[in-house]
Symmetry: C2
């Protein structure tokens, strides 16, 4: 039997609760397959930093690199917790992982489920994926401050975009578009203002499109994309965009499809030089942590993306179908359930 | 009688059609007041550039500077028109005006009107304003490209943020929040990732807040703001944010309140060193230009903001009330009307 060697980073807040359910789903989905799991838990996050001063050391990173894939929960301190410098864990743990492990494709599917209420008046089904660039753009941490705290302070942020970085993501997005029935790709940027980066993205899409003649593509400014996301999200099939626009769009996409509780994501290393990482789009939600109130569906769907990435597409589909069955069950009986009850129901829907 | 000396830049596409109605509304609203208007039309925009090569020359800019205020329509070529380099008119005319005339506050009210359908399921009224910074951030046009068109291309965009620029906008936003019944301010940024700029914004809000103790304020990451904008837009009162986030948020805000056809804006020079400029948030919509299909309401509401800015708050209110009356009339009789019919109805609602 093949052994899959997973790193588990449950993280802070509701992270551990939802990851526990994701693990159950992983096991259930592969029970009858020729695979078994070996799990190594890395207790990284806010508490670990407070206790040890480590966000993510080079040694730990080297260990994490040896695994086949990473199951990630959520990180981030409570907003009022002044012991933790704002954004420290996010940058030095989560973003460091994405950058060090070359997670260039941040894959975020957005889909409505039957019976799940959305904030939109229309109940037309929505089904698209966002291919968000994950290793460059305004996220590179380039920039600085002079004269801090004075009336003459100047603070800069530099967005760095490379042909290498944009090309591989655009190509990946075209591949995914080609594999989908509608075969449509939308580039979202703001090239009328961000001329340098915008034109690199635009030219790259134009060039790569020549190898995917069966994919139709169009361009939307990010502000116009906001409008369509609420008035006509059905128009989207595959969206490809930069790191920051992708951050913004995918939260909106999660909202219009029924909530961040169902939004899964994969941080993909596309050439296998390091493990890919799968995480719910939601954060650590410290306000409801430890109360069994978190919906584990996003984490469970992230486990499905993980299986699919490792070539276990049937097992991945089993989770997806079980989630779908659970969504239908919710629609009939919308009584609130605990994190564990939802996880159990999804496992049961897999026939276990 | 006081004479108000206006520059009119109707622009491209539907710009001239909607500006024609905005002028009618201006005249009607001030008919019985001790004011008259002197209008100078500047035929700038795509056609002018094609004919003369001028986007906005220093001479024209100097002339525009002498007016009391600017009424602006919309600019931008048709997406397929390859004669016009993408974004050229936007940057060299619209953004050049905002930057040269020091329009640091880009004021964008968002409000639902009775009877106007929105894409949201909830019909709870929405009423907030966005104070978008207008003269810095990622819009400064700083950055560059090396090795263009090669596999080694690198393209950068530099967001520049100054204490001066952030402070004046934040102060303006607190002033506006204090003048509103709910007295709430929300800073939207992404300071967990954009550390330098984000912390300048955050520290500035913390400092200025001390002078507005009756205003309660909070902070939201831009991605979280996306979610609330669709699930709970009622929570917002005054939003203050940077140039790019403001661009993104205000289109979403326009969408969730019923459409870009009603979204007005003011580009405000807060210390009167140059004229302020009032424009609908929508673009030039070349696809429907010249057909009388454009809704002039956003341009007419922009004229109301112009009057208010010039101290003619009663006249401004007259336009607002007439628009409200027209919205109610639409709700009862939603038959489509032409641009001119809508303009006429709003003028009639002012009793003329
Ligand atoms: C936590 C934060 C750094 C992160 C991001 O901005 O990418 C999050 O918002 C996300 O979308 O995964
Ligand atoms: C046309 C464009 C340059 C402009 C902007 O990005 O500011 C527009 O989208 C707006 O919001 O006024």
């Amino acid at each position: 039997a093949k052994t899959i060697d997973l790193a588990v980073l449950a993280g802070d807040g509701i992270g551990p609760e939802v990851v526990a359910e994701a693990k159950k789903a992983l096991f259930a989905a592969t029970k009858n397959d020729e695979v078994s799991f070996e799990l190594t838990e890395y207790p990284l996050g806010t508490d670990h930093w407070l206790a040890t001063g480590e966000t993510l050391s080079d040694e730990t990173l080297a260990k994490i690199k040896t695994h086949d894939a990473i199951l990630f929960g959520a990180i981030g301190a409570a907003p009022g917790d002044t012991r933790i410098p704002s954004g420290l864990i996010e940058r030095e743990l989560l973003l460091k992982l994405r950058f060090s492990l070359d997670h260039c494709v941040n894959l975020r599917p957005s889909k409505t489920y039957p019976g799940v209420a959305t904030p939109l008046a229309s109940d037309e089904p929505i089904d698209f994926i966002v291919v968000r660039e994950g290793t460059e753009g305004p996220y590179v941490g380039n920039g600085g401050v002079i004269r801090e705290g004075t009336p003459h302070e100047i603070a800069t942020e530099v967005s760095i975009n490379t042909a290498h970085g944009v090309h591989r993501v655009v190509k990946d997005a075209f591949e995914r578009a080609q594999a989908r029935p509608r075969k449509k790709l939308t580039l979202v940027h703001k090239h009328n203002v961000l001329v340098n980066a915008g034109h690199l993205w635009r030219r790259t899409v134009e060039a790569v499109a020549k190898d995917y003649l069966d994919v139709t593509w169009n361009y939307l400014h990010v502000d116009a994309a906001m409008i369509f996301m609420t008035t006509d999200p059905q128009r989207f099939d595959v969206i490809v965009t930069d790191n920051l626009f992708g951050d913004i769009i995918t939260d909106l996409a999660a909202a219009v499809t029924g909530g961040i509780g169902f939004a899964a994501s994969g941080n993909i290393n596309i050439d296998g030089t390091a493990p890919s990482m799968f995480e719910p789009v939601h954060g650590s939600a410290p306000d409801i942590a430890g109360q069994g109130k978190a919906d584990p569906t996003a984490a469970i769907l992230s486990a499905s993306l993980l299986l699919d990435h490792l070539g276990l597409s049937e097992a991945a589909k089993r989770i997806e179908n079980a989630v779908l069955a659970d969504m239908n069950a919710r629609a009939e009986n919308p009584a609130p359930r605990s994190t564990q009850e939802i996880g159990d129901a999804i496992v049961t829907a897999m026939g276990h």
